[in-house]
Symmetry: C2
Amino acid sequence: MLTTALPPTRPTRSSLPRLFDTVADTINLAGGLPDPELFPSIDISDAMRSMLRLGGRTLLQYSTYRMPDALAAAIAGAMEFRGASVNAAHLIPTAGSQNGLLTVALAFAGSGATVLCETPIYPGAAAAFRTAGLHTVAVESDREGPTPESIRTVAADVRRTGGRPVLLYTNPTFHNPTGRSLSADRRGDIVEAAASAELTVIEDDPYALLSFPGVTIDNRTAPTLHSLDPQRVIHLGTFSKILAPGLRCGWIESPAALADELRTVAEITTLSPAPLAQATVGRYYAKHGWLDLVDAFRTVYARRAALMDTQLAERLDQGEWEWQSPRGGFYIWLRRRNGYPTASVVEHAAAQGVSVVGGSHFSLADEHADGIRLSFSHVPDGSVVEAVTRFAAGVTAARADETERAVS
Amino acid sequence: MLTTALPPTRPTRSSLPRLFDTVADTINLAGGLPDPELFPSIDISDAMRSMLRLGGRTLLQYSTYRMPDALAAAIAGAMEFRGASVNAAHLIPTAGSQNGLLTVALAFAGSGATVLCETPIYPGAAAAFRTAGLHTVAVESDREGPTPESIRTVAADVRRTGGRPVLLYTNPTFHNPTGRSLSADRRGDIVEAAASAELTVIEDDPYALLSFPGVTIDNRTAPTLHSLDPQRVIHLGTFSKILAPGLRCGWIESPAALADELRTVAEITTLSPAPLAQATVGRYYAKHGWLDLVDAFRTVYARRAALMDTQLAERLDQGEWEWQSPRGGFYIWLRRRNGYPTASVVEHAAAQGVSVVGGSHFSLADEHADGIRLSFSHVPDGSVVEAVTRFAAGVTAARADETERAVS
């Protein structure tokens, strides 16, 4: 019924890969999940309890999309790590970054609007843009991320062919899925390119605080794009990677001129934020700050990333596979040097008992089929060796298949 | 920047009236808010605490859009009051009904799709449809709600003029803002009319359990539209009116053929539901059931509705104003018999210290300007008399203005 109702010209909406599902006897390297062992569940429980017991019934009532002071302080505290100051008047609460992405997409939706996307791309971003009816087009990236030249060229191409380039989407720090980060210089260049092409930039920044110990990501090495051009860049942040995703709390820091519109659309997506969850974030921050918790996450992820990196180096043929050693975030992005698609590797890895995500999931049009994303954030230390062993067995099996097919 | 980027043909997105804001020295009859005194905040706090302390870290992790068993049981328990059984396989969790509305709207969005709307209409529904890029068109209603004839006629008109009528939106029981309910017969007729016009029906049903003591709303007097035609009707439910809105938990019960698509779109709106909130609803229900809590809400609202009804009858000129005495829900809908717009009444009432909502907020195209919505659910008993006194003073002042203008 639904299908017949859809006109053929409608942009395709990608669905999200099923990353959070758990499968028996399988080690999950697929989901971009934080390590739940580090969630401060007792502190969260205590915060909720004392607020509700102290008469916080308004925390169970509908709420408004004005940013609560305690949450604004928690956001400012998180952005301080990046050396970025925050204007509370332009902060809009979201039910997580994905909700923020859809909000921005819907605010800009209209016939013919196009969003320029770095690829590989977080699938939730592509899905949000398409669900909102925006057109998507890829810009080229190098080892850091999107190139300013490509932004200019693609915007001009879209315009020349009658399109309306309006937005640029990027995840500039510890990018999902590649782990790459834009240098300070490149950040300036990208914002400049966006300005010359009259694009509003969506800076999707969930992983930026998760630099590994010894890796400096601050305002000097990697300023937020928003701080470089507050009137052009929409910054999306979340507490899902530095506290607990289940609270569903994130934020948009908006250019002044867009704040009212984005607040209106955010309200239309859910009517009301969850005030208890917001207050819990605020109270956690007021009591504990972010430093210890974020350091705990960084330390654990750095250890697992190093372990996985070493294991991959030992077990994979580096004539066949290449990757960058991660410096932060959740992911290792493998690519086959020969450009072969990895779909068969993903299948064989699953048969060996390890789930990973094929590169096509991060594409706009089936590019990056030679990639594979491995998530190290969520797999217990003790399972990393086993996971990579299984994965390598999957690679071997896939290659045997491929050789056979090539021969026969 | 945003404004210039929007093409002139884009459907207007209405924003929501600012109902949940609190203003000093003002009694709020504007917001459709449940009474927070009845929120079982200690039980909720205890449920959260014990689940988190018992090792429920997965409740703070990302979750999936599969319906948890405990939540499905809580939904089934709520729908039992209506005599409706629930198919758990077709239940999709939402962050409240509004999130469900946007999800449905986005799933059906595409060039030219039109949703037929009963009016006056809940502003969040109109805003969701327009934000998704759907066209909206009014169908006529009588004292019960939308008429089958109008559904047929309007769908045919839209089709004849090249449009694509796809959806019918209705809030059939204790309707916001009028309080009216469809009879059993009318429900059958409407579903039939929708079928003949090939429309999928959105049944937005947040208030259905809040019948006042003595008022029977069950499967015989008012079956859910969904139960009458499960393959045609999308049912939207919420725990916001029978437990606590701040948990942001609701659901979609979908026709089988649409369930996968709606689940996919729901995921794109927020990536993950809030598992702690969902588990809290499930645990509350498992321990307490809904009966006592819902009865407490019904009793309190019935008392306030009766008080407000009596006060209005005493203080308003019934030659000028008409309304139905509410039988459930949150609202009294006043209309001026002479058809005069109420904007001036709303303003004068605010000046007297009581906030109400003018009828135009519930319109698609400025119809219903002669209406005013009063919310009795949220105002403490002791304030009802004072609230109506202030409102009546506002009416008198507005009328003086109008008379003066008419004379001069």
